[in-house]
Amino acid sequence: MWNTIPLEAWEHEVQGRLLSPGSLGDQLDHHPRLMVFLRHLG
């Protein structure tokens, strides 16, 4: 089943290493990506 990621999620500005603040959608368009949510660092 396919779901749609909430639009506001992709327009939310974030800080992150190797990514400039801005739309995450730019990073994800056209290529499959594995999004990994980590509970903690370690």
Partner: protein, 136 residues
């Protein structure tokens, strides 16, 4: 994370985007050492965790037998839990996305669940075949 890093290194996984609830500085320090080639998003307000439905675990999910066994195994290997940061009761999350579409997700039942890489590979294979047949 080490399993994913190894599999990504073998080329069997698509590009990885990590989300964590620590600060940018803590993320820089950690991922700079452990997985420098992968982008990681600092999300201390858990915006993306919430947006993607990565919720807080229930007691059984957090402290069930499987979680305890995995924790004990990690301790026996000398892996100590780090200093708690962010919401330590959040479950992990694993999604395959393309553009704005979630193609696949793993539903973690306990903290002890390993990433379902066989399930992911199986889905990716079927997805690619579907794309090929649609293109014909």
């Amino acid at each position: 994370m080490s399993v994913l890093r190894r599999e990504r290194g073998l080329g069997s996984l698509p590009g990885v985007l990590l989300f964590h609830s620590a600060s940018v500085e803590e993320g820089e320090l950690f991922f700079g050492k452990h997985w420098p080639e992968v982008p990681a998003i600092s999300d201390p307000e858990l915006f993306f965790f919430d947006a993607m439905g990565v919720r807080r675990g229930r007691i059984r999910e957090l402290f069930g037998l499987r979680s305890l066994v995995v924790g004990a195994k990690a301790l026996s290997r000398g892996v100590l839990p780090g200093r708690p940061r962010g919401d330590v009761f959040r479950m992990p999350g694993l999604f395959l996305v393309e553009g704005r579409d979630i193609l696949w997700r793993q539903r973690f039942e306990t903290l002890g669940d390993a990433p379902d890489l066989p399930g992911l590979r199986s889905f990716m294979k079927a997805h690619l075949e579907e794309h090929r047949s649609n293109a014909d």
